[in-house]
C-alpha cells in the first residue's frame, strides 16, 4: 500500500475539464515530483489532494483510508499539509503569527515538542527568526516561500505538498529551498513536489510524473526522466 493513491481522478472547473483520469502513487518516505507545462493540471491535482477542490469521479486514498470522505480542514489533522501556489501568506499577520497558523490544529502548544518544532523552523530559516514581528505582506518573495514552508512544517505533516516552491525566486533562494526540501525529506517527511523547474525537481525526486492537459503522459524515476531525450526537449531546456 502506498501512502497516497490517486486512481482515475477527474476534476472539472465548471465545464472545463482540468484532470482527466490521473493515477499516481506516493510511497512513504519518498520525494515524488509532478512536472508539466502551465495548465497541465499540476496545481489542480494538489488542490484536489488537500480538499480545496472536490472530485468529479475517481478514488483518493491516504494511508489506506478514503480521503474524499475527509473534510478539507480535517485533512491537515490527518497529516497532509500544503504549501500553496503563490505561497498564501496571511498578509496582515506577522511572521510569528503566520507560523503559528500552521499549528492551528495542534493541541500540544505547551509541550516541549511544540517548542522544538518552532525552534527547528527558525533553524531551517534563520531569516524568519530575524523578521518574527514583521507583517507577512511586507516580506520578499523568497522570504514568503520560506515562511510558507516553515508554516506547513508546524503542522507536523507526514505528507508535505509543495506547489511550485521555486516560482519567482532568485537563484540563491532556489538552491536554499531545494536543500531544505531534501533535508525535510531525510527526516522522514514524504514530499509531493510540483515544479516547473524540472531539472532541479527531477534531480531530487525518487519518482516523477509528467502531466499534460490533465493526464499523466510519462512516469518513472527522477533519473530515468532526466535522461529521457523527449523530456529533455520539452521540459529541461536542453536542445
Amino acid at each position: 500500500m502506498s501512502m497516497l493513491e490517486l486512481d482515475d481522478v477527474h476534476v472539472a472547473y465548471g465545464r472545463i475539464q482540468a484532470l482527466r483520469g490521473i493515477t499516481l502513487r506516493v510511497e512513504e518516505g519518498q520525494i515524488v515530483a509532478l512536472i508539466g507545462a502551465n495548465g497541465a493540471g499540476k496545481t489542480t491535482t494538489m488542490r484536489a489532494i488537500s480538499g480545496i477542490l472536490g472530485l468529479q469521479s475517481g478514488a483518493m486514498r491516504f494511508e489506506g483510508d478514503d480521503l474524499t470522505a475527509v473534510r478539507a480542514d480535517l485533512r491537515v489533522v490527518r497529516g497532509i499539509s500544503q504549501v500553496p501556489e503563490g505561497r498564501g501568506i496571511f498578509p496582515g499577520m506577522t511572521v510569528a503569527e503566520n507560523i503559528d497558523m500552521g499549528a492551528y490544529v495542534r493541541k500540544d502548544r505547551r509541550s516541549a515538542e511544540f517548542a522544538q518544532d518552532l525552534e527547528r523552523v527558525y533553524e531551517l530559516f534563520p531569516r524568519l527568526a530575524e523578521r518574527r514581528t514583521q507583517v507577512g505582506g511586507t516580506l520578499s518573495g523568497g522570504e514568503q516561500q520560506m515562511l510558507a514552508i516553515g508554516r506547513a512544517l508546524m503542522a507536523r505533516p507526514r505528507l508535505l505538498l509543495l506547489d511550485e516552491p521555486s516560482m519567482g525566486l532568485a537563484p540563491q533562494f532556489i538552491a536554499q529551498i531545494f536543500r531544505v526540501i531534501s533535508e525535510i525529506n531525510s527526516e522522514g517527511t514524504t514530499v509531493l513536489l510540483v515544479e516547473q523547474n524540472a531539472t532541479q525537481a527531477l534531480g531530487l525526486a525518487n519518482e516523477a510524473y509528467v502531466l499534460e492537459t490533465g493526464e499523466v503522459t510519462r512516469s518513472g524515476t527522477g533519473a530515468e526522466l532526466l535522461a529521457d531525450p523527449t523530456i529533455q526537449d520539452a521540459y529541461l531546456g536542453v536542445s
Binding site: S50, L74, V77, S81, G92, M93, D100, Y104, G137
Partner: protein, 353 residues
C-alpha cells in the same frame, strides 16, 4: 471696509472669543429652515460630546457586527439591524416578564435594578446571538453552498431584513411598545458645566469594555486567529485546518451578541420604545460608522461609531434638530472622498485587525 456697528471679526482659532454672547451676531437666519447657530454649538459643546459618546457607543457596538461579517464574508449583512431589533424586544419582553410596566419608574433597591438590567442584557445577547446564527444558516449558508454570486447575497440580506421586520410587525403590531425605564438618568458629576449621567458613564465604559473583549478575542484567541485567517485568505485558512463554516458561525454569533448589548443600552437611554422598524435608521447609522472607520476593521468600528455620535450632536446644535441625520451622512461622504477605505482602512483583511 468700515466696520459696521455690531460686527466683529472673529478668528476661528481664537479660543477667548468662543463666548456665546460674542458669537450671537454670527447666528444666521437667512432661511427659516436652516440655522447656523455657532453660539449653541459652543454652548452645548461638552453636553453634546458626552451625549454623542454615549450614542456613538451604541453605534459602535452594532457597527462591530457589520464589520466582523464583512471581514469574513465581504458581505454587508443588512439584516444585522433586525438582529438588533430582536435584541431590543428581548430586553423589553424580559422587563415585562419581570413585572415592570411602561411609564412608572420602579421603586426598587439599586442592586435589584442592576440585577434586572444584567438579566435583560443576557437574554438580549442570547436571543440576538442565536438569531444571527439562524439568519446565517437559513439565508446565507445555502447560497454559499451553491457558490452564488455576491449580488445574490446582497439581495438576500435586504430580503431577510424585510422578512424579520414584517414578522415582528405582525407579531407585535406597528406601534412602539411603551418605554420601560428601570434606571432614570441622574447626573453624577459634570465636565465644564455639562452634567454626566450614570447611564452615560455605564454605557460608554461598558461599550469600551465589550470592544476590548472582542478585540482580544479576535487578535488573541485561537478561534480569533481563525477568523482573521479566513478574512485574509479563505482557501489558505482551510489548508491550515481552519473550519471555515465554523468560523462564519462564530462571527455571526459574536456580532449578534454585541447587537444584544447595544439593544440593552438603546432601551436604557433612548426614549423610543421597542418597535419593529426601530433598527432601520440605527442600522444604517451603525453601518455608516463601520464604513467611516474602515469596514472590516474592529478599531475602525469603534472610532467611526464615536465620531459619528459626536458629530451628529454637534450638527444638531449647529444646524437644527432636523439636520442631525443629514450631518451624519454628509460626514460619511466627506470622509470617503478623501479616504475611500475609511479613517483606519480595511484591516481585518489587509493588516492587523
Amino acid at each position: 471696509m468700515p466696520d459696521a456697528p455690531g460686527e466683529r471679526v472673529i478668528s476661528v482659532l481664537d479660543l477667548a472669543a468662543l463666548d456665546p454672547a460674542a458669537l450671537a451676531p454670527l447666528v444666521v437666519h437667512a432661511e427659516p429652515w436652516i440655522n447656523f447657530d455657532v453660539g449653541l454649538l459652543v454652548d452645548r459643546f461638552w453636553a453634546n460630546t458626552i451625549n454623542g459618546l454615549a450614542y456613538g457607543s451604541v453605534y459602535a457596538l452594532i457597527a462591530l457586527g457589520y464589520t466582523l461579517v464583512y471581514g469574513v464574508l465581504q458581505l454587508i449583512n443588512f439584516a444585522h439591524s433586525e438582529i438588533f431589533v430582536i435584541g431590543v424586544f428581548g430586553v423589553y419582553l424580559t422587563f415585562v416578564a419581570l413585572g415592570f410596566e411602561p411609564g412608572a419608574i420602579p421603586n426598587l433597591p439599586l442592586a435589584a435594578i442592576i440585577l434586572d438590567l444584567v438579566l435583560a442584557g443576557l437574554v438580549a445577547m442570547a436571543v440576538a446571538g442565536l438569531a444571527a446564527i439562524g439568519l446565517e444558516r437559513v439565508a446565507y449558508r445555502p447560497l454559499r453552498r451553491r457558490n452564488a454570486p455576491r449580488l445574490a447575497f446582497l439581495i438576500t440580506a435586504i430580503g431577510a431584513s424585510f422578512v424579520i421586520q414584517q414578522v415582528i410587525r405582525i407579531w407585535r403590531g406597528s406601534n412602539p411598545e411603551g418605554t420601560i425605564r428601570l434606571l432614570p438618568p441622574s447626573p453624577v458629576f459634570s465636565i465644564f458645566g455639562a452634567p454626566v449621567t450614570n447611564l452615560q458613564i455605564v454605557i460608554i465604559l461598558a461599550s469600551i469594555a465589550m470592544f476590548v473583549v472582542t478585540d482580544r478575542f479576535v487578535n488573541g484567541s485561537r478561534l480569533g486567529r481563525g477568523i482573521r485567517a479566513v478574512a485574509q485568505d479563505p482557501a489558505t485558512a482551510t489548508l491550515m485546518g481552519v473550519n471555515r463554516e465554523r468560523v462564519i458561525t462564530i462571527t455571526f454569533l459574536v456580532g449578534g451578541v454585541l447587537a444584544g448589548v447595544a439593544a440593552l443600552f438603546y432601551l436604557m437611554t433612548i426614549p423610543q420604545g421597542a418597535v419593529y422598524n426601530g433598527g432601520f435608521l440605527l442600522g444604517i447609522k451603525a453601518f455608516t460608522a463601520a464604513v467611516l472607520g474602515g469596514i472590516g476593521n474592529l478599531r475602525g468600528a469603534l472610532l467611526g461609531g464615536l465620531i459619528l455620535g459626536v458629530a451628529e450632536n454637534y450638527g444638531q446644535s449647529l444646524f437644527g434638530g432636523d439636520w442631525r441625520d443629514v450631518v451624519a451622512f454628509v460626514l460619511l461622504v466627506l470622509v470617503l472622498m478623501f479616504r475611500p477605505t475609511g479613517i483606519l482602512g480595511e484591516s481585518l483583511a489587509r493588516s492587523r485587525a
